[in-house]
Symmetry: C2
Subunit: 501 residues, 2 copies
């Protein structure tokens, strides 16, 4: 047996363990009874430790070295060569993390989740603050263990988006902001062009849920290899290409209805379902990075789901499915309401234009926390100040402030930037797709999503984690990650919608 084959066996085992841990996490968010927290934390801790120890074992390191020699002559873009390269990157990174830190991250995450839910329900940051201190402390320990540069946040970015660093993100964000702020000001001066009051209408949650399941299936999410459940915070999780699940959340009011949330998560799920079967049970059997993943979810949610042709196709069915609640609302009116720009408190409900500002404020706060310039107790004030500065809003109430997202229950920081990168990358990929699929809008208007789904499958999904975000974007678009296409897209879309020109 070659070293590569032996390495693959180890990696398959590690992959099995991680997928099992993913299922334990999914279950905690969907069906686990309250009493299960402590046992679940233990189980997650043990699975994390064992998969970590198997992976970073000296024997795995030796197999890796030998496999590197074996693939030296193999084509650089082949599955095997890429597998070895990615496994090496992961191994170099993970060997820096002590086992007890890995266990603590899994355990503390499981324990933080119900505390966050309770704190959010009560809108009381002080309930969550002790858990947040643990999150920050663990993130600091990770940054210190991984850190190769002087900047703590760099390590966290590198773990998520290999090839990027804090300075690159700051530059992208600064460019985005330069585009968003004046455009937002112009839109706000024409706010009367869009009426979003139709979204205050209410529709029975069961009707919304079954319609959203119908939509995501038609987009290309295979429900024989997936399912949709409810959770406090929607997410997508994969236990292998044959079982990729999404969750959503639903309220009677359409502003917080489930449809866009389901489409968003289905965008993630189609990506995971579309990874080449040849990569199963390897570290390549997942999306490239959180940022590229978000490019897929945001692309389907916004560039498709909030487009005119999409509603040309779906609006008649939506009206029937929603049992008359929208009988007097025309397609154009509904389309406009779904795209209304209005600074608001909650990221997941934010419009496309202000969404990135929500990410930027979290990025600022995380950097301050990580680098010790902000204490956990000061987060609500810092948040309020940022909400004022970025969004022009008064301080939010408890649940709509720093407790709104589940992410700080995962004892790691740096996860939010992927959302803004995703918008950027999604627009780049869509610009390229449009250049190749010249009839795309007509296809979407006819309910034919297969061409776009197929194009993404070919250019993005099937590669899994073979390429870095930069490599993938370069390969597909011929250019690096850059905010230009997104800026052009929002200028054009909202210029039209608000009749700015």
């Amino acid at each position: 047996m070659t070293a590569l084959a032996s390495l693959k066996e180890v990696l398959a085992e590690v992959s099995d363990l991680r997928q099992a841990a993913e299922l334990l996490g999914w279950d905690q968010e969907t069906y686990m009874p309250a009493g299960g927290v402590q046992d679940r934390a233990n189980q997650l801790g043990t699975l994390s430790r064992i998969s970590h120890e198997r992976f970073v074992a000296a024997g795995t390191g030796r197999l890796l070295e030998a496999a590197e020699s074996e693939v030296a002559g193999v084509a650089e873009d082949s599955d095997d060569a890429r597998l070895v390269r990615v496994a090496r990157r992961d191994w170099d990174q993970e060997t820096r993390l002590p086992s007890d830190l890995v266990v603590a991250m899994a355990r503390e995450g499981a324990i933080s989740r119900p505390v966050w839910q309770e704190a959010k329900a009560r809108g009381d940051w002080s309930l969550f603050a002790p858990r947040m201190r643990i999150t920050v402390e663990l993130a600091q320990r990770v940054a210190e263990a991984i850190g190769t540069t002087g900047r703590a946040y760099d390590a966290l970015i590198d773990m998520n988006e290999p090839g990027l660093d804090t300075a690159a993100v700051e530059q992208t964000f600064s460019q985005l902001r330069t585009a968003i702020v004046p455009l937002l000001r112009r839109v706000q001066a024409h706010a009367d062009r869009v009426d979003l009051s139709v979204l205050d209408r209410e529709v029975e949650p069961a009707k919304q849920l079954s319609f959203s399941a119908l939509v995501v299936e038609r987009l290309g999410y295979d429900l024989q290899r997936g399912r949709q459940d409810l959770s406090a915070h929607p997410f997508c999780t994969s236990f292998g290409m044959g079982d990729v699940r999404i969750t959503t959340r639903v309220k009677p009011g359409l502003r917080e209805g489930c449809l866009f949330s389901s489409i968003h998560e289905a965008g993630h799920a189609m990506y995971e379902q579309g990874v080449s079967r040849a990569l199963a049970r390897t570290p390549l059997a997942m999306g490239t990075s959180p940022g590229v993943h978000e490019s897929q979810s945001r692309l389907w949610e916004n560039l498709v789901g909030r487009s005119r042709p999409f509603w040309t196709h779906f609006y008649p069915e939506l009206k029937v499915a929603y049992g008359g609640a929208l009988d007097d609302v025309g397609e154009e009116e509904f389309y406009r309401a779904c795209n209304a720009v209005q600074p608001s408190y909650v990221r997941v409900d934010a419009d496309e234009l202000t969404y990135n500002l929500h990410v930027m404020l979290r990025f600022e706060i995380e950097k301050e926390l990580l680098e010790g310039r902000l204490s956990v107790d000061e987060v609500p004030q810092a948040w309020a100040a940022q909400v004022k500065e970025y969004l022009g809003l008064e301080p939010p109430n408890g649940a709509e402030g720093p407790l709104q997202d589940i992410h700080w229950t995962f004892p790691i920081l740096g996860g939010f930037i992927g959302y803004a990168l995703g918008n950027v990358i999604g627009a780049q990929l869509m610009e390229r797709a449009r250049a190749e699929l010249t009839a795309l809008d007509d296809q979407i208007a006819a309910g034919d999503f297969a061409p776009l789904h197929g194009w993404l499958g070919e250019h993005v999904y099937r590669h899994g984690r073979k390429f870095t975000p930069q490599e993938l974007v370069q390969k597909v678009t011929g250019r690096g990650i850059e905010p230009g296409p997104w800026m052009r897209y929002v200028e054009c879309k909202f210029g039209d919608l608000y009749e700015l020109n």
Copy 2:
């Protein structure tokens, strides 16, 4: 650190891995999409192998030896002494199983489950036969690996019910049959005393499910540490005392309604929930054996759930909950219908008297298969012959024959005998409980289940797996496992119901 403390750490990790595997199994039966089978089989195979290898490692053996010395002076019934004793028994047994056999059992089981569902739905044994051949072959390999006596079935019994063997089971079954056959004949001569046609009435499944949840909670099943879902074959599974779940199945007709199935599984669940917290994450943190476990489920299902005082309490509520479907049916009539004796094809729907015959026929067939005197293809004919001999019925249709139970998808045989042992042990324990709780029937009639739940908690639940089945029964009743109490119970109950005397 003492060797015992180190041993406990290893055992805790093994326990975490096994509980994680249990969750993967629960998920496969409840929510997993069809496409997940292959990945799930891999995940279960890996978890089984790692937990097996950690447990049987030479290092664990050395810790065990050292721990045996450490507890030499400790009270024999203490948690620590019992822990070491049970770990030793498990270790001696599991070290005989090669790793690849353990992996195969977990993997093949996961793959067999959907095949069984499909075969059952079509009533076609030939679809399942290839999987059954694997089950038999793996059981034979296990029996050979474990086997210390000449008899293959002994090994399988010893794995499940330590201290018992085939001869002991055969003797008990023969005694039971001697009691059942003439009593059944007498009952059948008085069949007109009971009318079970009211069970043909139909009630919306959702109403049945919520009523069953209400009932099991009132019996003592803590839903903060549990939940009820649907599955093809009802089961109970524990992921620690804080999370013990049941499943049920439901059809509109009350004959296959969910209530007794839910009570049965809740009997298992209350046992697991009641194990002393001090035993968490050890091999003692579960019920004594399948047989003792069934004593708890069958006790609640039948000795409580099919008793007159139970219905004195619940019948008025049932009538309301079932929305008028039973308005014209009196309590006594309903009670009698729930206890009607009528030979039938499906074990889980069988009455108390003929139930054991269903177990005996499986026991006979399994022995024949295991010892090579019967081929898998011949099972339907052998089954038909046994159904004729034991129950006096014509050959069943496909789904009501050997495909009715999920058990042969678990690649192990010998699991069924626990059901008949459970009836026997349950009656012994209940006889003892009645002697101590002199007002038991009045308490049940008043809906006060706490005294019985507390008594079982004290005498059975909290001990977990500290004692063997024989030891536990001896400790509680002062006698070994014996069918006398069950025989007296059915003679008395059905003598009264069918007015035989």
